[in-house]
C-alpha cells in the first residue's frame, strides 16, 4: 500500500508521544522531521544536567534532565537509571498519551528495497492499531497487513486476534548484536530487508530491543520499566531485555499481542564492543537463570491488571532470583518503586487535562499536583 511521505492527517497525532533518550545531541531529528514533526516529543536527557541539549527548531517537545527526574520523583527517582538509555522509561512515566514510540538518537530513516524512505512511525502505528495473533501462528505472517490473510487451517474463532500492546521494529546496517558476537563479526551488517510483521506466539520469550519500539501505554505501560542499569549498577545493555521479558509474560497472561518485524530503521552507530562486553558480561551468565525464571512465571488469577501482575512479578524476582545476586533484590525493590511512581503520576481517575498551548517549546514542567 503506497503511503504518502507526509500523511495529510498524521495518524494518532494527539495520541502518541515520541520518547527519545539522549546524552549527546538530537541532530538525527532533522532526518526524521517529515515523519516526526506533527508529533509531541519527550526528550529524556541523560548524563550531565548542566549541559544544554539543543532541539532542532519546529518540534513540540518537553525535555527532562536528571534534575527534573529527581524533582518530579523525589526519593522514587532511585528507580530511574543514570548514564544508560534505560532512563527513557522516565519518558513513559510522564507521558499523558495512549501510545509511545521510542527511538535511539543514532537511528536514522532507512530505505526499503525500492529505494523509498520508510516512515517507521506510521508502520508502528499500523502494527499497534491492528490485532495480533498470539494463539495460533499464521504462516503468512500478519494477516491484517494489506495483501495478506489467514491461511487454510486457521480457525475462524481465533481470527479476531488480540489487541496489540507492543510493536518491535528492526534495524538495517548495524544489527543489535551482543558484545561477543560483535567481537567475532565486527564487519557484519544487516542488509536483508524482511518484508514481514508477525506476532510472537503466546508463551514465547524474545529479546526486546528498545531502539525502535512502539507500545500502547494504556495496555502495557506499567510493565515497560527498563530496570536498574548504568552508573552504580553491575550491569548494562539489559534494560530493554528486562522490560521485554516482563512485558511479554504479562502480555501472555492478559492475552495481549506483541508484534515484531517491520519497520526498519537505519542503525548508524556500532558501539565499542569492549565497553559493551564489560557492561553485558554479568548479564550473559545471569541470563541463564533469568530465562528459565521467566519461562516458568505463572500469575495467580487474582492478577487482573498490569500493575498487579508487575508487583507479583517483583515478588517472584526477589524470591527466585534473589539468590543469583543481591542486584536482583534491589531490582525487585525498584520494580515496586516504579509502580508506585506510575500510580502517582498516572492516577486511575483522570482529572481534566490542563489546556496545553500549541507548538510552544517547553522546558522542565511544573511539579505535578499531588
Amino acid at each position: 500500500m503506497a503511503q504518502p511521505a507526509i500523511p495529510v492527517t498524521p495518524a494518532l497525532k494527539d495520541d502518541l508521544d515520541i520518547v527519545i533518550p539522549t546524552i549527546r545531541n538530537l541532530d538525527f531529528l532533522e532526518m526524521w522531521r517529515p515523519f516526526f514533526q506533527p508529533y509531541h516529543l519527550i526528550i529524556v536527557q541523560d548524563g550531565d544536567p548542566t549541559k544544554t541539549i539543543r532541539v532542532p527548531e519546529g518540534f513540540d517537545y518537553e525535555l527532562y534532565n536528571r534534575n527534573d527526574v529527581n524533582r518530579i520523583l523525589g526519593p522514587k527517582a532511585s528507580c530511574i537509571s543514570f548514564k544508560d538509555s534505560a532512563c527513557r522509561c522516565f519518558g513513559f512515566l510522564v507521558s499523558k498519551k495512549k501510545y509511545i514510540f521510542t527511538i535511539d538518537d543514532d537511528c536514522f530513516v532507512a530505505k526499503d528495497p525500492s529505494g523509498k524512505e520508510i516512515n517507521a512511525l506510521a508502520q508502528h502505528i499500523q502494527n499497534l492499531l491492528t490485532p495480533s495473533t498470539p494463539f495460533f501462528f499464521n504462516t503468512l505472517y500478519d494477516p491484517f497487513r494489506e495483501g495478506a490473510d489467514f491461511v487454510r487451517g486457521y480457525p475462524f474463532s481465533l481470527r479476531e486476534g488480540a489487541p496489540t500492546a507492543i510493536s518491535h521494529g528492526l534495524w538495517l546496517n548495524i544489527p543489535d548484536y551482543d558484545a561477543p558476537t560483535q567481537l567475532v563479526k565486527p564487519l557484519e551488517r544487516n542488509t536483508r530487508y524482511v518484508d514481514a510483521v508477525m506476532t510472537i506466539p503466546k508463551g514465547t520469550l524474545f529479546p526486546m530491543c528498545g531502539m525502535n519500539l512502539g507500545f500502547d501505554r494504556e495496555l502495557i505501560g506499567p510493565a515497560m520499566y527498563f530496570g536498574l542499569m548504568g552508573d552504580g549498577q553491575p550491569i548494562g545493555r539489559y534494560d530493554d531485555m528486562w522490560a521485554g521479558w516482563c512485558a511479554k509474560v504479562i502480555c501472555d497472561h492478559m492475552s495481549l499481542g506483541v508484534k515484531t518485524g517491520l519497520p526498519y530503521i537505519w542503525h548508524s552507530k556500532a558501539s565499542n564492543p569492549f565497553v559493551n562486553l564489560k557492561k553485558e558480561y554479568k548479564g550473559i551468565y545471569w541470563q541463564e537463570d533469568i530465562i528459565p525464571f521467566f519461562q516458568s512465571v505463572v500469575f495467580p488469577k487474582e492478577c487482573i491488571t498490569v500493575q498487579q501482575c508487575y508487583i507479583e512479578l517483583s515478588k517472584q524476582v526477589k524470591e527466585k532470583l534473589g539468590h543469583v545476586d543481591p542486584y536482583f533484590q534491589k531490582l525487585a525493590d525498584s520494580m515496586v518503586t516504579w509502580i508506585e511512581a506510575w500510580e502517582e503520576l498516572n492516577p486511575p481517575t483522570k482529572a481534566a487535562p490542563a489546556a496545553q498551548p500549541n507548538g510552544v517549546k517547553k522546558d522542565a514542567p511544573a511539579p505535578k499536583p499531588k
Binding site: A148, V151, G153, T204
Partner: protein
C-alpha cells in the same frame, strides 16, 4: 551443533500425481530435480496413464502397488487424492523428503532470480532450529545474520530441524471462504526469511510445499483426517493440517524444530473457491475442535520416539475427539494403522525398494 552435510543421495522428491500429464510440471522443475531420485505416486482414482518426460531417475507407484503393499489389513487408510503422496513417504528409503503439489512450479525471488526450493529446504533441514527462544533476526544460521543481543548463549546450538514448511507466491494456501471473499487476491509478497516456529506454538502446516526428516517426522505424516466430501483441490482437504499439528506436538515434546518461510514455490491458479465452498466446508468447522484439542495434548515422559508420541496421540483422539464427530474416530483408526504400517513397511533407510510400476 553445526551444519549437517546432506548429500543428493539422501533425498527423495515425492510427487503425488493428481494430474495424469506431468510433462510440463516435471520440465519446469527439471533443472532442480534432475540430480535427485523421484518417487511419483499416481492418485489411485486417476484412470488415465501417467505421462512422464524422459531424463529423470524415478520410481512410479500406482494403485496396484498400493493394494499390494497395504493390502486389506489397513482399511482405515485411504491413499486417494492428495493422500497418495504418503505412500511415497512409506516406500522411500531416504533420510530426507521434499514434496510439492503437481500444480506448482519454481518461483522467482524479489530480485527476479530463480528459487531453488529443494536446495533451500535442504539447508533448512541441515541447519539447527531454535524453538526455545525467538530470534528477532529470524534464522540465525542464515548467511549475513546471527543471534541478537539478549539471546541466551546456552540455547544457541539449537536442535535438529525435523520439518521445513515452505510458502507460495500467486495462489497462496488460503481456505475456500477466504479466497472466495477475495477471488482476485494473489500473494505477491516475497518475505526473505526462514524462522523456527517456537515450541508450544501451533500452526497450520500446508502440504503444498514441504520437506522433512523422514526418520523423525515420517510416522507423523499420514492420511488421517479425511473429510466426508474430500476432493481434488486443497480447498477441499485438511489432511495436511492435521498431520502438521501432530508433527508439531511431537517435535515440541521431543525437542525438535519446525521451520517456516523460504522457499517459495509458484502455485498455479486452479479451481474455484466458491465452488469448493459450496461443496465442502466441513474442514473449516472441524478446525474449531481440532486446534483446541492439539493445544491441550500433553505427552508422557515415556514417549521418546515419534511412534511412541503418535500412539499416545491416538489414545487422546479416541478419548476426546472421537465422540464429537465420526471423522475423528476414523482418523484415530487411520493413525493407529499407519503406525503399524510404518513399522512393517516404512521404517529404515539405505536400501532402495524396487518399483512395480
Amino acid at each position: 551443533m553445526s551444519q549437517t552435510n546432506i548429500g543428493d543421495d539422501e533425498v527423495d522428491i515425492v510427487i503425488g500425481a493428481l494430474h495424469a500429464d506431468l510433462t510440463s510440471f516435471l520440465n519446469e522443475w527439471r533443472p532442480l530435480f534432475s540430480r535427485f531420485h523421484l518417487i511419483i505416486v499416481k492418485d489411485p482414482d486417476l484412470r488415465e496413464e501417467l505421462k512422464i518426460p524422459e531424463g529423470f531417475n524415478l520410481h512410479v507407484y500406482t494403485k496396484s502397488d498400493i493394494d499390494r503393499v497395504v493390502g486389506s489389513s489397513y482399511t482405515a487408510i485411504n491413499f486417494s487424492g492428495y493422500s497418495c503422496r504418503y505412500f511415497g513417504y512409506l516406500m522411500s528409503r531416504k533420510k530426507y523428503i521434499f514434496s510439492v503439489d503437481d500444480d506448482c512450479i519454481p518461483a522467482k525471488d524479489d530480485k527476479g532470480l530463480s528459487v531453488d526450493a529443494v536446495d533451500q529446504h535442504i539447508t533448512n533441514l541441515a541447519t539447527p532450529a531454535t524453538p526455545f527462544f525467538f530470534n528477532t533476526l529470524y534464522d540465525p544460521f542464515r548467511k549475513g545474520t546471527d543471534f541478537v543481543r539478549g539471546y541466551p548463549f546456552s540455547l544457541r546450538s539449537g536442535v535438529t530441524c525435523a520439518l521445513s514448511c515452505g510458502l507460495w507466491l500467486n495462489l497462496a494456501d488460503h481456505d475456500a471462504p477466504t479466497q472466495a471473499l477475495k477471488p482476485g487476491h494473489r500473494n505477491s509478497r516475497y518475505v526473505d526469511a526462514v524462522l523456527t516456529v517456537p515450541a508450544r506454538a501451533l500452526m497450520p502446516v500446508s502440504g503444498v510445499n514441504i520437506a522433512f526428516n523422514r526418520e523423525l517426522a515420517g510416522p507423523a505424516l499420514f492420511p488421517g483426517l479425511r473429510l466426508a466430501a474430500e476432493g481434488k483441490l486443497r480447498w477441499e482437504t485438511v489432511e495436511d493440517i492435521w498431520c502438521g499439528l501432530c508433527v508439531k506436538v511431537v517435535c515440541d515434546h521431543l525437542g525438535l524444530g519446525v521451520k517456516t518461510g523460504l522457499p517459495y514455490v509458484w502455485r498455479n491458479d486452479r479451481g474455484n473457491a466458491i465452488e469448493s465452498l459450496k461443496k465442502e466446508w466441513e474442514g473449516v468447522k472441524l478446525m474449531e475442535e481440532v486446534v483446541p484439542f492439539f493445544q491441550s495434548v500433553r505427552l508422557s515422559q515415556a514417549a521418546v520416539t515419534t511412534e511412541d508420541c503418535m500412539l499416545e496421540i491416538v489414545a487422546l483422539v479416541k478419548e476426546r475427539l472421537a465422540t464429537l464427530d465420526p471423522v475423528f474416530a476414523r482418523a484415530a483408526q487411520a493413525m493407529a494403522d499407519w503406525i503399524k504400517l510404518w513399522k512393517a513397511v516404512g521404517s529404515g533407510s539405505g536400501s532402495s525398494r524396487p518399483s512395480n510400476g
